[in-house]
Amino acid sequence: MRREFLKTMGAGALALLSACATQNIRPKPRVVVVGGGFAGATVAKYLRLWSRGGIAVTLIERNRQFVSCPISNLVLAGERSLADITLGYGGLAQLGVEVVPAPAERIDPEQRRVLLAGGLSIPYDRCVLAPGVDFMSEDIPGLASEAAQKRFPHAYKAGPQTVALGKQLAAMPDGGVYALSIPKIPYVCPPGPYERASVIADYFRRYKPRSKVLILDANDGVASKRPLFLQAWAERYPALIDYRPNMPIRDVDAGQGAAIFDFEQIGADVWNVIPAQRIGRIAVDLGLKLANGRWAEVDWLTLESVSHPGIHVIGDATFAAPLMPKSGHMANQQAKVLAAALVNLFAGREINPRPKVMNTCYSFVGFEQAMHVASVFDYNAEQATFLSVAKSGGLSERASKLEAGYAHAWARNIWADSLSAVY
């Protein structure tokens, strides 16, 4: 067609033709993803896969490697190494994702671009924020100093603090106390702190049997998988775990090595303070509409911010639907709803009006036994949110060795689904 056109047109028309051709070759739509955790990695991968390379995807992530929070509690207890839970972004690069290893500084929604340090900026047609959470350390004034952060690590973003807390536990003499402060829900990975207490109790049982795990929980009881954790603790660590509900932390005193609660000050050999959390700073600075000043409100069909058109939010940073956990699994599932919506949007096709997401979350109660909670959600158009499907999902009957094997397989499989070029 074009050749015939060329043949029939005089040479003088060539300039005009090339101008037309330039307009006809539309540039690929560009999606810029901020944050390369489970949510950001998955949306980057599936955008490339499902658009068959038709969407240009840039992933901005400050860390050069992905470190998995799932399984990181076993690293604390010395049962796994940080290398075991660390993966590269090479799989995404092989799929054509442009991976930019730098922190994103801010979003310019008018100019539709993401700004990096040093004045670099990356334009987008659609921006995906998968920033995860920041810790609300300002609630605990004593945490401001670096010394305090070393004495009271959170170790709740897998990485250097995981290693540091693991070293403190290894160095703690037998007969010592490890104290864990848990914030009020909602926080990331509801069973995570209780799993941590469990595997550290197993480590003590084996290697430092006179030691204690002291759990100081701001909630009025175990906030996730309650009957199963209580059963496991009673059976396996009856004298080892001291669980105290309704204990919101107020401050820390690094000099004394103590944390301050409403009516008492408590000392411990090894401290682990997990502060409350909110959406990552970049979203706060942008002025996204947040629920309770903490979590992004989104349209669940498109994961688009309710306040900022063209900006989508996924993962832990979202204001969750009823009963929806903040988990890596759910982040991956939300990412796929978004990837499908964007591919169809750019292709001029209908966006799925009935998306579905599900969650499976394994928790270890010791080195060799794990249990699960599962749930399935359908989009409900009347209520414009995801609702749990009646009679679906549930808990394990009890923790088992079988499910510990499934838990490790789950981790390897979701790492592959989120990051690997195999498809």
């Binding site: 896969l49 038709g54 599900m358 599962a374 399935v376 490790h408 789950w410 499989n413």
Partner: protein, 105 residues
């Protein structure tokens, strides 16, 4: 097939089939539903290695339907699948089974 993918991947950027400049196929509801299984059972049913949680690529639609029915009526014992399958309608299971059988091998 999987090995081929890995080998190609190792050589550089995968050559993804072209996305139609205008329109494109889009993502079907069946494909989105099947993707809810992928966290555990592999992207498009494929996994880099054999795992206790199995890949689904290469399975027939009938086999997938039979297994899910067996989880639902407890004929096949399970830990989590008997709970997950209750979140999916028969129609959704048909769509997932058909999609995986057609695209997952």
């Amino acid at each position: 097939m999987i090995n081929t993918c890995i080998r190609i991947a190792a050589c550089g950027i995968l050559l993804l089939p072209a996305f139609a400049a205008n329109g494109g196929d889009g993502v079907s509801v069946a494909q989105s539903l099947a993707a809810t299984c992928a966290n555990c059972h592999g992207t498009n049913g494929r996994l880099p290695a054999q795992e206790a949680v199995p890949a689904l690529a290469g399975r027939s639609a009938d086999w997938i339907r039979q297994q899910l029915a067996a989880f639902r009526n407890y004929a096949r014992s399970s830990t989590v699948m008997q709970q997950i399958v209750r979140g999916y309608s028969e129609e959704e299971i048909d769509m997932i089974a058909d999609w995986l059988a057609r695209n997952g091998d």
